[in-house]
């Protein structure tokens, strides 16, 4: 018997999960019916035009077994001291996860949702306008996840770590879902690591929903390190109330095809977001960054700063839209994308876009792509650095600019080390 392909499996209503409280069933129904009317993305869709999804959708559907996923996670060196919540093969592993105190709430998502008798205000909130079919799929079929609620009083410098491991073994599909809530004035640093081993590969379809109450402040690092033929897809949806701020640093290295779809709703006056991204891609790796920032309230501010370093036949996309609504007077938005191409066959698609429906606004965007600058290279060589060392220094400097800007102490060090190793391989 041949296994059902992911495409057929998910299009079947039977893949709609039944777990959860009564109010969740209609939410899942709605997600499923919207997904049915949309279907899977094709190359005709603007946001997916450069992605070849056949390898993902036509792969046989396989879900890792919980026991195998747990065993696989146990072989990893996990920190004992860190505040950490662990997923493997899409399963949330409470045995390997921290039991927090000090008012911090961390629960399996199903347990958290089951304790609610009415729909949570934030949960799957914008289903009606959700354009990403993979978010809809996650919504109707997820069974594993985590809810992290950071209390008002929280101003702890200890980072909160989310760890997503692939379960090894046969290629599998994982659909974790994480809701992060920062209560009024809370300040937190979250590091989310998606680690793919050198095994046979995996497909992840993760959804993150992040809610910032008034004056809350979040630093979120997403560190995606893929050593094997993995397809990490992650959609993040941020909702920001007045005076809150979200800073995100995405670091993406390796893998087969990565799709990160980030949407930020600046809903409260003075809310700010700073989205920084860095991808280091060699071989045939591909990373597609889709960003949408909706300025819906006055005095909101957004900054986007994304860089890609591409070698061999790697490809990357920066597809970003800043949308300033009519009410968002005195808002300020900037988009900047720069790409360093280390080979003639590497390819980048840079598409920063602005839509502005109010006059009183500051907005600008820019994009720059190219090989190593010959003047810079000559400058370093004229000081005695050999071409390899000079190229490494330039590439690292190019990448460092993102890390310096992002100011993400909980992840900056490990990203710096990883990118140096990777760039070293590229210039060798």
């Amino acid at each position: 018997m041949t296994a059902t392909a992911i495409r057929e499996k998910l299009a079947d209503k039977a893949s709609m999960a039944s777990q959860g409280p009564a109010w969740l069933a209609p939410v899942r129904e709605k997600a499923f019916s919207r997904f049915q009317s949309m279907g899977f993305p094709t190359r005709q869709w603007e946001a997916w035009k450069y992605m070849n999804l056949f390898p993902v959708l036509d792969a046989p559907f396989h879900q890792a077994q919980r026991e195998a996923a747990l065993e696989s996670a146990r072989t990893q060196k996990l920190s004992r001291d860190a505040l950490q919540w662990v997923f493997s093969g899409g399963y949330y592993l409470s045995d390997l996860s921290s039991k927090p105190g000090s008012g911090l709430e961390a629960k399996p998502l199903m347990t958290a949702l089951a304790s609610e008798t009415a729909p949570l205000a934030f949960f799957a909130r914008d289903l009606d306008s959700e354009e990403n079919p993979f978010v809809l799929i996650n919504t109707f079929s997820f069974t594993e996840g985590l809810l992290l609620r950071v209390p008002k009083s929280w101003d702890n410098h200890q980072p909160l770590n989310l760890l997503f491991l692939d379960a090894g073994g046969a290629p599998s599909l994982a659909m974790p879902r994480v809701s992060i809530i920062l209560e009024e004035g809370a300040k937190a640093q979250v590091v989310c690591r998606m680690l793919g081993g050198a095994g046979q590969g995996s497909v992840t379809n993760a959804v993150f929903e992040v809610f910032l109450e008034q004056g809350a402040s979040l630093k979120l690092a997403q560190v995606i390190l893929q050593d094997g033929p993995h397809y990490p897809f992650a959609a993040a949806r941020f909702y920001l109330k007045s005076g809150s701020s979200a800073e995100q640093l995405v670091y993406c290295r390796g893998g087969k095809m990565t799709k990160l779809d980030t949407r930020v709703e600046l809903e409260g006056e003075g809310a700010t977001c700073r989205l920084n991204g860095l991808s280091i891609l060699g071989g045939a790796a591909q990373a597609f960054h889709e960003l949408t920032v909706n300025h819906r309230a006055p005095l909101t501010l957004s900054r986007q700063f994304y860089k890609n370093i591409l070698d061999d036949e790697a490809q990357a996309e920066f597809n970003s839209l800043s949308y300033v609504f009519r009410d968002a007077v005195k808002s300020d938005t900037q988009q900047l994308n720069k790409n360093l191409l280390l080979s003639d066959d590497a390819r980048v698609y840079s598409r920063p876009k602005l839509k502005i429906y109010t006059d009183d606004v500051s907005a600008n965007h820019g994009s720059a792509n190219g090989p190593t600058q010959e003047r810079e290279l000559f400058y370093l060589r004229s000081r005695g650095l050999d071409p390899k060392a000079a190229r490494l220094m330039l590439a690292e400097g190019f990448a460092r600019e993102v890390l310096d800007k992002a100011d993400m102490p909980a992840a900056g060090g490990e990203i710096g080390r990883d990118l140096r190793r990777e760039l070293q391989k590229m210039v060798d």
Binding site: Q373, F378, Y379, R381, S382, R383, L385, A389, M393
Partner: protein, 252 residues
């Protein structure tokens, strides 16, 4: 130390240097002056190995080695240093880390042990006084956001760290106000030693008020049309270049 014989070079298909002869000995300071487009900066670029300049003839011997056969980094390691007319900005590369890399590349070439960041910091603290560079310069990205004067000072800081045998200063005085010029020129003077040599490429005489040259050469139309002592520069200051170039029939 340096012997240039009948050097010819072009940039972007245009013949710029049309036969330069020059000899520089240890302990000497040579000034290369000339009107715009005379080839002064091209000469500096050729010596440093800038790929924009293509050598089409002649010979350059540096301490007996054929300099033109060496890639830029080997020229640097052999002791040739060019201070850029337009120093390049390198975002994301820390100035101190860059200087240490360059310093260690030289140490390695000399078969000496590399120095660690702590040891190098002590060296750097000494050297930065040469050009009165504030400490925060060292932790910024190389030349990024520096003013014109700061960039030139950073060039001289690199020169102080690398201690070249031959320094070629390409219009280091251009774009500097009086104070910046004094700082840069004083810094360069401090670096002068009996065993090194300098070539100052400049349009104006004012730099030579601070750094007194042993020889002055006037370049025009890609050739040296007059050589003399420091008084030649004063004469140029007074009379301009026309009297030198017109008489040679080299000016259009």
């Amino acid at each position: 130390m340096l012997k240039i014989k009948q050097l010819k070079a072009r940039i972007a298909g245009n013949d710029i240097l049309k036969g330069i002869d020059l000899e520089v000995k240890a302990g000497e300071v040579h000034a290369i002056m000339g009107p715009n487009g005379s080839g002064k900066s091209t000469l500096a670029k050729v010596l440093a190995g800038d790929p924009v300049a293509e050598v089409t003839g002649g010979e350059v011997l540096f301490e007996g080695k054929n300099l033109m056969e060496l890639p830029p980094e080997e020229r640097a390691l052999a002791g040739v240093f060019m201070a850029f007319q337009y120093p390049v900005e390198i975002p994301g590369v820390n100035n101190a880390a860059f200087l240490r890399m360059a310093y260690n590349a030289k140490r390695k070439a000399q078969k000496k042990d590399e120095v660690d960041p702590l040891e190098f910091d002590a060296i750097l603290q000494e050297k930065r006084k040469v050009v009165e560079i504030p400490e925060d310069f060292l932790n910024r990205s190389v030349n990024q956001g520096f003013s014109g004067g700061e960039k030139k000072r950073n060039e001289i800081l690199q020169m102080a760290v690398l201690e070249p045998r031959l320094a070629v200063l390409d219009e280091t005085d251009s774009g500097l106000d009086v104070d910046a010029l004094r700082i840069v020129a004083t810094g360069v003077t401090r670096l002068k030693r009996p065993d090194n040599a300098m070539i100052l490429v400049t349009h104006y005489q004012r730099l030579l008020n601070y750094i007194v040259p042993d020889y002055v050469h006037i370049l025009s139309g890609g050739r040296i049309v007059r050589s003399g002592g420091k008084d030649l520069a004063l004469e140029v200051e007074e009379k301009g270049y026309d009297w030198l170039t017109e008489g040679q029939g080299l000016r259009k």
